[in-house]
Symmetry: C2
Subunit: 402 residues, 2 copies
Amino acid sequence: MTAISRAAQFAQRTAHLRASTIREMLKVTQQPDVISFGGGLPAPELFPTEAIAQATQRVMERLGSAALQYSVTEGIPEMRIWVAERLTRRCGGIFSAEAVQIVNGSQQGLDLVGKIFLDPGDHVVLEDPSYLGAIQAFDAYQTRYLTVETDEDGLVPESLEEVLERADPFPKFLYLVPNFQNPTGRTLSGRRRETVVRICEHFGLPIVEDDPYGELRFEGTDLPPLLSYRSTAPIIYSGTGSKIMAPGMRIAWLLVQDEAIREKIVLAKQGADLHSGTFAQYVFHEYVSDGDAFDAHVRRIAQTYAHRRGVMAEALAEFMPEGVRFTRPAGGMFLWVTVPNVDTAELLKISAASKVVFVPGVNFYSGRDVHDGMRLNFSNATEKNIRLGVERLAHAIRLYQR
Amino acid sequence: MTAISRAAQFAQRTAHLRASTIREMLKVTQQPDVISFGGGLPAPELFPTEAIAQATQRVMERLGSAALQYSVTEGIPEMRIWVAERLTRRCGGIFSAEAVQIVNGSQQGLDLVGKIFLDPGDHVVLEDPSYLGAIQAFDAYQTRYLTVETDEDGLVPESLEEVLERADPFPKFLYLVPNFQNPTGRTLSGRRRETVVRICEHFGLPIVEDDPYGELRFEGTDLPPLLSYRSTAPIIYSGTGSKIMAPGMRIAWLLVQDEAIREKIVLAKQGADLHSGTFAQYVFHEYVSDGDAFDAHVRRIAQTYAHRRGVMAEALAEFMPEGVRFTRPAGGMFLWVTVPNVDTAELLKISAASKVVFVPGVNFYSGRDVHDGMRLNFSNATEKNIRLGVERLAHAIRLYQR
């Protein structure tokens, strides 16, 4: 159909290439007795349903119609202040509510970043592997990718330097997930954080720092976000309520200190949907504004996921054939398994028949074809199912290897 | 700043050109004793605040965490069914829930339509004058406009035909608001509706039918939407809950019967923000699903606005200098005033000093420079303020004419 835009054609082509195995996986997930490590869902049993109903009641009594009217593009002031204060407390830096843009889930933040930076053919620098949702958001702008190597400590600074030295055209920004990365679960080490900021500063490259899981740390101490280092190159920070409150609220935020960039983000948001839901923002804010209760809630989520991560790691150690390696993330929702000499997209067909699914690693790579990885989600299954699922998966690998 | 995308540069330039008087107007609106006919806000005193708090309570009791989890890109099934059934009842046609895409306010629907159809330099056909929010949404795709004449019966079919005959490049779609148009309040006559559909069918031009006010009819009988005519050229219908329930919910919908187009809309929505808020969708649906109460609510809104429209029309007849003409819309939220030989952007400066504001008509024109129009909103002021505001406005015109 020739009437369709080039961007839509491009997005459809890339989506088809990237997502066919994921669609296959999702189909299988619908079956009742399938154990899915494939999605990225938070544990619904931890959602504060009753507290949200009460928060809504309080909002309606206090604000009435103001909670249902059109509101400003940047977000309601209460939410912007809350985001700035929470980040200030977590990071030690001082962040202003002025710098906050409320968005509909972090996916919209990534889309707006794509919209204001990217022209067809532009380069974006990604970790390899990287978050699939970000790749899909940027694909809509007919983007190409330059990829940087990663290891146990996250993105490798020497590789970033090398990529930037020979990049042509020079990329528009670096996108990375420094804490408990999706898909690998790895964290950019404290030592490397400032190095990465300095390299980007040297080259004048903006950084898009995506931090959906930063508050879900199981052990060790928090590392400063890249945003907390002073830099002449702009850093756009993306945070979300999806993993610490509930994804169905679609409340997330960008923190953009660079005024010229922020102005363009606001304009893009205005054109995209005027503003985020007034109702959802007020209810979200009312719920989180009891700070002690909310902190306790976030701790409970982290403890639950820590336990599930532990169960999954134990089961992997117990059931997997020799040679299989896996990460043991200090937070977040995912771990990464490497099965040498196995094409995990092929493995998925066997494992789906054994009623356990995952996302084949190849979907997360933009730079190289890497077929032996898989992403396992541990936040959305019971401990019993985690053990059973890993056992089935190990069995599927043995079948494949036969 | 060279790192910014061409789309962002274009959007900033056009926004600056179009919106400077609107920004001026909004600044004045902040002052407490200013009467604003400038915005497009529904009457907040009609929002069902207590009913929404109760609906939230019921949703949480019945669905619990399912109302807070990630959900599918197309929208929750309940909402899609409700939209299809309501449109079926209103229009006589038969519409399928499959064809419905839930979006974050109709602005997002327009943005997604822009995203899947428009490349830089592409033409879109607009009524002249046309809705500013649509122009802003399409501007993000570096679009150009072809404009069609309008009269008391809406878009002039002969003018549309003429525009399409000499269009080069051929446009991607026609965008129009057939019922109680924003900004003029005019309605495309019943006789012209099928003619417009047949012209577009003849030329193979898709139609984007934006219908935010269709349910707010004050008098006369409903006219069938363009969507209800069978056509080989695709018709994309846009509806919203903003004017019949509350805009702060950000719940609106596209109805797209063409499967190939719908597939691209879904993909664009997925890249843009994954899905609309699960929480807001369930609460919205719970509220509207008591059909009799909701119908009564919509009637109450229409009756209130009809009364305000009447008060405004009377005041205009009473206070305005000779030669001033105005529309008397059969529904919606706006009427259009023509003040011959007056530049209404200049008039705004005088009227703002007299503490009444409006949107100068020039902002809605893409094809010609028309300076003597103004858009007045009658839904968001009390009857007393409507009379007082019109009196002030008439005074400002006399000052201008001196």
